[in-house]
């Protein structure tokens, strides 16, 4: 028996966190399935996922209880987004070995992609049961709990992640977001600050730090952080939109308009930026009601565009109603508020009751 080669590949890229499991090479001549299996790994590494799937399938044909081939085929199928097929492969691995923590981990990731958050959380729990030191399983389970709205549970998971790996910037960022959801803004700001300290190129965390400060009414601080995020990631339209909103809150409408315009340049189909820029034009215009300034028309055009991009954008209707009100188009205003109310904007319902006959 030849030496056992163990590959543990953690593709650290955030989007495609893929892992390639153990490859065991038995005696080459004797074991054709293992040989084919190794070819599959080469293909996988060359990102030839479709080919790799076929190759692993051949190995499985030769050896139907070849757990590692199932596992790697699952990984390949995950890469090409064949999630159902990947799941059945993971299930096979687990059937062959209940304690295959990496299969539980992979299964959890796949379930997450399918939006089956509850099942995903259960799978991570299994992965943790068989590998209690796997900080990533805690980290991802934290993310799943976060998305399920279980912020207290998520917090415990991120705490555990950091306990196991105290220099993990990503976990600080995510825990910061959890604190933000729990309305513990000060703690959120501390965690985000820690994340950017550990990873100075961490644009997302800078953006989040900015948003936490903005929520904490530190608009100046927020603008500074957004600016760093944008510098680190010049196409970061989300941070630009956020900086525009912070300027808006500071009543710097001209500055806000500039940022929203930049945001639209980066992402021309971004309805939020049109909505927000429309609002900034409105604010710019309505300082003196006695004068109809061209900014009213600009506001209207932007909100029209936001609605065109997303016809079920309730807030854009609500805001456009306000512009119509300023333009003394009461019927158009009421029509917009009615539409906003239909789309679930509660305030619009109140306004209709009081101001629309």
């Amino acid at each position: 028996m030849k030496k056992i080669i163990l590959f543990w590949m953690l593709l650290s890229s955030i989007q495609s966190f893929a892992q390639v499991d153990t490859i065991v090479i038995h005696q080459l001549d004797m074991q054709k399935a293992e040989k084919i299996y190794n070819e599959g790994i080469v293909q996988f590494e060359a990102k030839q996922y479709k080919a790799a799937i076929d190759t692993f399938s051949k190995a499985i044909e030769l050896k139907p209880d070849f757990d590692k081939a199932y596992f790697n085929r699952a990984l390949s199928r995950f890469e090409v987004k064949e999630y159902s097929a990947a799941l059945s492969d993971y299930n096979k691995v687990i059937e062959l070995n209940e304690k295959a923590d990496k299969a539980w981990f992979g299964k959890a990731k796949t379930l997450y992609q399918q939006g089956k958050i509850e099942d995903c959380i259960l799978s991570y729990t299994k992965a943790i049961e068989y590998a209690p030191e796997n900080f990533l399983a805690y980290y991802y389970r934290g993310g799943a709990n976060f998305e399920a709205g279980k912020y207290d549970t998520a917090l415990a998971d991120f705490n555990k992640t950091i306990e196991l790996k105290n220099d993990y910037a990503l976990a600080y960022n995510d825990r910061g977001s959890t604190y933000k959801k729990l309305d513990k803004l000060q703690l959120a700001i501390e965690d985000y600050s820690m994340a950017v300290k550990m990873k100075p190129s961490f644009a997302i965390a800078y953006n989040n730090l900015g948003s936490a400060k903005k929520k904490n009414n530190d608009l100046k601080g927020a603008i500074e952080d957004y600016t760093v995020a944008i510098k680190l990631k010049p196409d970061y339209y989300i941070a630009l939109n956020n900086r525009g909103s912070a300027k808006f809150e500071m009543a710097d409408y001209a500055g806000a308009i500039e940022d929203f315009t930049e945001t639209i340049k980066l992402k021309p189909d971004y309805a939020f930026a049109y909505n927000n820029r429309g609002n900034a034009y409105l604010k710019n215009a309505n300082a003196d009601l006695s004068k109809a300034t061209p900014d009213f028309e600009k506001a209207l055009a932007d909100l029209d565009k936001a609605i065109q991009l997303n016809p079920s954008y309730g807030y854009a209707y609500y805001n456009r109603g306000i512009v119509h009100e300023f333009l003394r188009q009461q019927k158009a205003a009421c029509d917009d508020w009615k539409k906003a109310a239909e789309l679930g904007i509660n305030n619009a319902t109140e306004i209709i009751k009081q101001e629309c006959k």
């Binding site: 993310g143 990503l170 989040n208 956020n242 909505n275 927000n276 009601l289 807030y315 305030n347 009081q354």
Partner: protein
């Protein structure tokens, strides 16, 4: 050459330019003796007019201007011109002249700095105004300072307050109500009825009664004009003629919410309030109001409460808080006005209170005052009564209030519109009437943002937007209006509308429909269970119930009433008869209506009636028959207890056999559950 040297010296020495004061003296105008003579004559003409008081200032200004074009560099002349301009339409010119006077000779008059400050204040230059007022204060001697200090401090406080109020302008639009109403002459003091269908205003246009000119200010005498709102257009104003207008000043003061009674001001007896009523299409002769209102002093503004039982008015009679104060009188049971009562120290101040307007909501008053933390001159304030206690007056804000006098403000019942007069660039000349449209509540604009909250997934997450809460408007009213007519001939009827509070069992107010149009209008503040009894001589009364919860918003309800002559067989539904649920016990809320029925029976001693009970179809026929019968009997028993002879009354229970309308809807079932009476003999 000499001039250049002087100029250079001034520039070098002072660093700023001070023009030289040039007196109207021969030595300054060599070779221009004749022109100088004319200029001096103009000045003395102007001075004569100036001394006669502000109403002559515009004439004085004409003469002064001539002299000023001959010699623009006289400090005293510039000062006087500033004084004239400060009360004119062109207030900005006052600053020019006062500042010119300051350059020429700062000490030409001791109060020059005060007026310069005041001119700046009126022109919204508050920083500069404060600066002038402060300089003025500093240069006063100790004795004068003692007298002047309160006035200066008030002006400075006004400037500061103005800056504050202007930071939060009101959400409104101001529209000229149009050239069909407004003229090149002063049009002002608009008063509207509750539903904004009629407006009375004062105008000094050329076709006023008699066409006379008031020598005091060279303007035509005031007359009252009426305009109607049809399809959102004000009709050409009509001069109601000699009943309301005389050859001298006749001005609008107040109007009842239904537009059937008018209060006007006449200058006689030191200034008094008169009342006239619309009888059909004709106004009755103005009648001087009771002595509890009018005195030998100046009574100049008045307004009815919506129930017509209280009259607010303004008087400068002694015994108040100083200058004009607001008073009220209440009507007693006999319909006479009682003692005048001062509205109290939270409303009245040692300074002027003017132009009172009581809103149809029955709780809010608007008035002008120079005594409460305003932005200059008279400002308009609002106060709301709660259990007879008036809230602290609230400045209604900029741009309705200005640094100048703001008076005559009337608000529609809906609270959406107000009317006032103003001099604005878009006007048709002098004061014009403007309609203010209040925008709804301020609405927070909502931005949307998102973040990449989780580093493990780049899915961005929208920030949860907390929607701002919306404040409910206060004191809403329901306007009930329509016409009353004979059900057979369809001709309009003059009828009285008696409004009762069913819970308190008391009559709140009585109104009349117009005999020519049959039209009526009643203002019903939210939060009461109202019973209405509509009565007209020779007709069977009608009843209507309006239960308006306190959170009901403004609404206009149009309801026409066709009345039947009293004759055998006629039926009336008694809409204000209430029973306990599923029982035959009469509730106390029914007594107001029953007293109307008792009066009818007492007035018609031969009349016999049947009281009948009716139910909806919920439950068995037998059960409902029994319930309706015992309810009818309960009414009859009550009437007997009030000394109606038993033999005149019969009762019957019809269950749901005589359904009024469908039983398939809740509204239908409610209409079917009713108590009726029928005349069986007359």
């Amino acid at each position: 050459m000499k001039n250049i040297i002087i100029l250079l010296t001034v520039l070098l020495c002072g660093g700023f330019l001070r023009a030289q004061n040039v007196e109207f003296e021969k030595k300054n105008f060599t070779g221009k003796t004749d022109s100088l003579k004319i200029a001096k004559k103009n000045i003395s003409q102007g001075d004569k007019l100036f001394e006669m008081g502000p109403y002559k200032y515009m004439q004085a200004l004409e003469s002064y201007s001539k002299a000023n074009s001959f010699n623009p560099n006289n400090a005293l002349l510039n000062y006087k011109m500033g004084r004239c301009y400060i009360i004119s339409i062109q207030k900005e010119k006052a600053i020019t002249h006062f500042e010119k006077a300051l350059q020429l000779n700062p000490s030409v008059e001791f109060d020059l700095l005060y007026y310069a400050g005041n001119a700046c204040q009126l022109n919204y230059q508050f920083e500069k105004a404060i600066d002038y007022f402060t300089q003025y204060q500093q240069q006063l001697g100790p004795k004068r300072l003692l007298d002047e200090k309160p006035r200066i401090e008030n002006r400075i406080a006004e400037c500061k307050r103005a800056k504050e109020l202007m930071k939060k302008p009101l959400r409104l639009f101001i529209d000229n109500i149009g050239s069909q109403v407004n003229s090149v002459y002063p049009d002002y003091s608009p008063i509207i009825n509750a539903d904004e269908s009629v407006m009375f205003f004062t105008s000094r246009r050329s076709n006023t009664t008699g066409g006379g000119i008031d020598k005091n200010d060279n303007g035509y005498y005031e007359d009252i004009y009426i305009t109607n709102n049809t399809n959102n257009q004000w009709t050409a104003p009509v001069n109601p003629g000699k009943t309301l207008n005389s050859k001298v000043h006749d001005a609008t003061v107040g109007i009842s919410p239904d537009g059937q009674k008018l209060l006007i001001y006449k200058g006689e007896n030191g200034g008094d309030i008169y009342e006239c009523k619309l009888e059909g299409n004709e106004w009755t002769k103005p009648k001087q109001m009771s002595k509890s209102i009018n005195t030998e002093y100046h009574e100049c503004s008045a307004s009815y409460s919506p129930d017509g039982k209280t009259l607010y008015f303004v008087s400068n009679k002694p015994g108040g808080f100083g200058k004009h104060d607001i008073y009220y009188v209440k009507k007693n049971a006999k319909g006479k006005w009682g003692q005048a009562i001062n509205l109290g120290g939270s409303i009245n101040t040692p300074f002027e209170e003017q132009s009172i307007f009581a809103h149809p909501d029955g709780k809010t008053i608007y008035f002008s005052s120079e005594g409460h933390n305003g932005m200059g001159g008279l400002d308009i304030y609002k106060s709301v009564s709660d259990n007879d206690k008036w809230s602290d007056p609230e400045n209604i804000g900029y741009p309705i209030n200005t640094p100048d006098n703001d008076v005559f403000f009337s608000v529609s019942a809906s609270g959406k519109h107000a009317y006032y007069s103003s001099i604005r660039a878009e006007g048709y000349g002098e004061k014009d009437i403007y309609m203010i449209t209040f925008l709804g509540n301020p609405k927070e604009i909502i931005n949307n943002t998102e973040d990449n909250l989780l580093a493990s997934t780049l899915q961005s997450q929208s920030e949860v937007v907390i929607e701002p809460s919306i404040q409910l408007k206060t004191n809403p009213v329901t306007i009930l209006k329509g016409s009353i007519f004979d059900i057979e001939t369809k001709l309009p009827l003059k009828a009285s509308i008696q409004l009762s509070d069913n819970v308190k069992n008391e009559v709140i107010a009585e109104f009349e429909s117009n005999s020519a149009s049959g039209k009526y209008l009643v203002s019903l503040p939210s939060g009461k269970n109202y019973g209405l009894a509509i009565k007209s001589e020779g007709y069977l009364f009608l009843s209507e119930n309006f239960d308006i919860p306190s959170n009901a918003l403004y609404q206009e309800v149009i309801k026409d009433f066709g009345m039947s002559k009293i004759k055998v067989g006629v039926k009336v539904v008694l809409k204000n008869i209430f029973f306990d649920f599923d029982k035959a016990s009469l509730r106390a809320e029914s007594y107001s209506e029953l007293s109307v029925l008792i009066n009818l029976l007492n007035d018609n001693p031969l009349m016999k009636i049947e009281i009948s009970g009716h139910t909806d179809n919920v439950g068995s026929a037998a059960y409902n028959q029994k319930l309706s019968e015992s309810r009818a009997k309960a009414v009859v028993d009550y009437l007997i207890s009030k000394n109606i002879v038993k033999s005149r009354l019969t009762f019957a229970g019809y269950g749901f056999s005589q359904a009024f309308t469908t039983n398939d809807t809740p509204e239908g079932r409610q209409m079917n559950r009713r108590t009726e009476f029928k005349i069986t003999e007359k």
